[in-house]
Structures are given as C-alpha cells and as structure tokens.
C-alpha cells in the first residue's frame, strides 16, 4: 500500500489531519504510530497561542463546528517535543502557520532544520495581519509568492493545506503549484455557524467556526476532483472520512493520500482500522493502490 507524495514514499495513504491528533503521542494507546502513513502534528506558530474563548466546539448534524483558535505550544516547546517522537518510524509532517510572511518564513526555516521533521504542511487559512486580516489562502498572488518564499528557506518537502472558503479553489491550488509546492491538501474546514435558540446566541463564543465531519465529504470530494484535474503535483484529500468507502472514493477521484480528522474523535482507532480495511479490500478486489488512484470514469 506504499504511495508516493512527490519524492516522499509513505507506508500507506492514511494520516491524521492536523489538529485532531495532538502531537501524536496522545494516540499511542490506540495503535502503533509507526504504522501510520504519516503523522501530521498540530499546527505550530512562532510563539505559543492560548486559543479562543470558550465555548469552542459544538455538534451539528453530521459533524461539528470548532473555533479552537489554533491554540498551541509554540515553536520552542515544539522542538523539545519532537525529541519524544524520535522512535516513531514514519514520516513526521509538521503543520505550521503564521500571521505574516516573515512568521511563515522563519517557521519554515527553523522547522526544516529539525532532523525528525520529514515534511512541512503549511496552513494558509490564517488572516494576514499586515493586509487587513485578509486570509492568505484566498488570494492567488499571495499564495504563489508565499509558497515560493517558503520554498527558498525549506529543505524539506512542502505541502500546502488549502482553504475551501475561497472563490475558486483550483486557482489557489495552481498558484501553490506554481510557487513550488510539493503537494496540496484539499481542504481545511468550511466556515459555519450555529445558534442556541433559547439564548438567541451563537453556540460558539467566536460566533463562527470550522465545519468538519461526514457532512462535508461531498463538498470536499468535488474540490479534490477539480484540483486533481488542474494540477500535476499530488493532492491529499481531507474532509469527512469516517469509513473505508469514503477513503476509496477519494482515491478513485485521484487523491494520492487521505487525511482523517474529526473521525479521530468519534473512533480514536479509526486510522489503524482504515489501514487494515483498505489492505483487505485491495486483496479481495485483486487491485494495487495505484490501480485505484485516479480510476474515476467520467
């Protein structure tokens, strides 16, 4: 079940989505982390962030909303924590984000020097505070420029995690490819909102948050389909996978790998179950994973 994301070979196509798996070790009671295709760590920023005011999560039909606010321990503590992952024998992909170009570049430069880091995943769904808070990931020129600047300082493969909250995601995907991205992750959460009808107040203190879970799968499926058509670099699908069939659908559409997010909360062993089930499926169907990837008939 080995797959390749650019030059990087992964044991299998399954990995957690950043932010739903902590820094990895939290899940070691549920399975052997070394068996995962990759371990994608929680988004890290240059300095620690305390996150948003609670309530930060709420359930909606077929999923959840979150406005955690990218709470994290910051780069320095993260570097120490990387030592705890030294015995994990799989690709360590570090998700990172900034609020300025300079922050992104500084983070990429420092993270790429860490020997335990296999690849970087750049979250571009953040507001650019020097540009009036406009999200980095919604402007093609910004994305191309940011990716190319980060590539200059990073020795490691760079994956760009796209936001679906933009006019045309394929324009942004192409900009990331032109900038030199090694892969794109399609996609981050969809902005959403829920209201407590008794209190007549938003259910999240931040008013809105990221919508994730099985309900978003058809939206992301279409985005993956469109991105695969216009890109030459690999697409990693991320959105609403809770069962093997969801993953197979994404592979058929052309995704090279699958990130599992919210389902890690509803079944903490899901990644290991998916690895086993896909293996069984491929054997039963007498298929290789490469036969499956991009086999969509339209």
């Amino acid at each position: 079940m080995k797959i390749k994301i650019g030059d990087l070979e992964l044991k299998n196509p399954f990995m957690p989505a950043s932010g739903t798996f902590g820094y990895g070790l939290e899940y070691s009671d549920f399975g052997d982390l070394s068996r995962l295709g990759a371990l994608v760590t929680k988004g890290v920023s240059l300095t620690p962030r305390k996150g948003n005011k609670p309530p930060r999560i709420c359930e909606v039909s077929g999923g959840m909303l979150n406005s955690i606010g990218l709470e994290n321990i910051g780069l320095e503590e993260f570097k120490t924590l990387l030592c705890d992952l030294k015995d994990i024998d799989t690709a360590i992909v570090v998700n990172f984000f900034g609020n300025t170009f300079e922050e992104y570049i500084e983070l990429a430069a420092q993270l790429s020097k860490q020997p335990k880091v296999t690849a970087l995943e750049m979250n571009i769904s953040c507001p650019n505070i020097k540009q009036g808070g406009i999200c980095f990931g919604t402007d093609e020129n910004t994305v191309q420029h940011l990716v190319s600047e980060v590539k200059k300082v990073s020795e490691k493969p760079l994956w760009v995690k796209l936001t679906p909250n933009t006019g045309d995601i394929t324009t942004i995907a192409v900009a990331a490819e032109k900038g030199g991205a090694d892969a794109v992750v399609v996609a981050n959460t969809y902005l959403g909102m829920a209201v407590d009808i008794k209190q007549k107040k938003p259910k999240l203190a931040n008013i809105y948050g990221g919508f994730s879970g099985p309900a978003i799968k058809p939206l992301t499926m279409y985005n993956v389909f469109r991105c695969v058509k216009v890109l030459t670099i690999p697409v990693i699908a991320c959105g609403g996978v809770t069962a093997l069939n969801d993953a197979i659908e994404y592979l058929i559409v052309g995704a090279k790998a699958i990130q599992v997010g919210t389902a890690n909360f509803t079944n903490p062993a899901i990644l290991w179950e998916l690895i086993e089930k896909l293996k069984e499926y491929l054997a039963a169907e007498n298929l290789s994973i490469d036969d499956l990837i991009g086999s969509l008939k339209v």
């Binding site: 939290e26 549920f30 996150g51 609670p54 309530p55 955690i68 909360f265 079944n267």
Partner: protein, 251 residues
C-alpha cells in the same frame, strides 16, 4: 487509557428522566476512582455525532455502570434504544477526587451531581453526605445512599425530607461545627458548585474539590474543545480535571 467495545445489556429507570445502564465491555478498562469518566461513542450515527463524557458510577471487572439524565439526543438514545446495543467506550479518563490526611470528609451533591461522588466511601471515609434534589419526583438512589452514608437530604420545594437548597443545610452544618478542618467533595450544576465555593470562602475552607463538566469531543486532551475560562487562563476540563480545587476555577 483503553478503547473497547461495549454492549448495553441492562437498563433501570431511576426516576422519570434518570436511568442506570450496565455495559458489558469486551476488554476491561482497568480500575477507577471517584471522579474518573469514560467517553461513549454511538457507532455510525450522524446525530448524535460526537462522543459523550460520562462519570463512572461503577466499574467492576468488565461491567461498567453509568447513571444519566435524559437531556438531549445522546442520552435519549441511551434511554430508549432496544437492548442490547453496542457502543464504543474509552477510558478510564481524567483525574479523581483526592485523599486527605487530616480533617473530616464531607460530600455535597446536587441532583445528578451525586453520580461521581456516589462511590467515594470506597476510597475515603465520609463523615456526612448532603444531597439535594429539586423535588420528590427527581430523587434517585436514595435507598442506596441511606444504606451507605450518614445522609442529609433536602428538596428545593420540601416535597421530600428537608425543605430548601442542600447548600443551606451544608452551611448550617458548618456553623454548628465551628471549625474549618473539613474537606469537601462537591458535584452538581455549576451555579451549585459556585455556591459551595462561596460558602467555603466564608468559612475559610481550603479543600473544596468539585467535578466539573463541559462539552468535549475526545476526552483525552486533543480536541482542546473543553477549555473553560478561569481567572488564571483557560483550563482543559478533560485533561487537568474534571476534578479541581474550586479555587482553581473560580479564583
């Protein structure tokens, strides 16, 4: 922490909206102490979607017992789904109520808040147990409490035993006691815990430990959704708690 399959095989109605369920676990989750909790996840459900935290009422061998009140879709399913039915269960999660070397130990519980403190006498010696219910029809587990504890019961409307908030009876007890060598274990809705905290402040009690609840998606410190705001910053209920000295939460 372990993840296992559970089969709900028995269900008792304790009052109009409160139920006790017994879950047979494929693998044992180990031992528990009062205050620990588990997460339950309905498989293949879109609503309810997220797992739910439940205080452990009892965990002996491979049988987990939970007591809950029907408050939403998840608890309604637990109360109405035809037996037997299966769930995913993980735990044992969170911290537990501490032991103290000196002083008398007293419990103050409001309504469903008695679940996490119900078994405390297995781990510590309890001098008095105060429990309050809204009214007679909302009382539950009274017989069992009476058999095990030196009990004071009140209802807000006086329909059963003493009239008034149980926190008032607790305060009266403190006045009569006349010293602050007391350790308090509390659980109930947040305004209830806050009232216990205020009374404790008035009588200079240092050891008031309460179990707090909030919405959470994982139960083991990953989702960061269970943060609550305290004077000392955001605190994650699942990982650092759910049992806290009330001063850590209220200041």
């Amino acid at each position: 922490m372990k993840l296992t399959q559970g089969v709900v095989f028995n269900r008792k109605k304790l009052n109009d909206k409160t139920f006790e369920i017994h879950i047979s676990l494929t693998d044992s989750l180990g031992e528990f102490r009062s205050g620990n909790f588990v997460m339950l996840s309905f498989e293949n459900y879109l609503t309810p979607f997220l797992p739910r935290p439940f205080s452990i009422f009892d965990l002996t061998g491979n049988v987990l017992k939970l007591v809950f009140r029907v408050v939403g879709k998840g608890t309604e399913l637990l109360a109405t789904t035809k037996l037997p039915f299966s769930l995913k269960v993980w735990g044992v999660l969170g911290n537990s109520f501490p032991n103290f070397d000196t002083g008398k130990n007293v419990v103050v519980a409001g309504g469903l808040g008695l679940v996490p403190v119900f078994s405390l006498n297995r781990f510590v010696n309890i001098e008095r147990f105060f429990v309050g219910y809204k009214n007679a029809s909302e009382a539950f587990l009274l017989k069992e409490l009476m058999a095990n504890y030196n009990l004071t019961v009140s209802t807000d409307d006086g329909s059963l035993y003493e009239k008034g908030f149980i926190t008032e009876h607790f305060e009266r007890y403190l006045m009569e006691l006349g010293n602050n060598l007391l350790n308090v274990y509390a659980c109930g809705p947040e305004p209830f815990i806050k009232r216990v905290y205020e009374i404790g402040k008035k009588y200079n009690l240092n050891n008031i430990y309460a179990s707090f609840e909030t919405v959470m998606a994982c139960g083991f410190g990953v989702c960061l959704g269970c943060a609550v705001e305290t004077p000392y910053g955001y605190v994650k209920i699942c990982k650092k708690g759910p049992v806290f000295n009330v001063k850590e939460i209220f200041g």
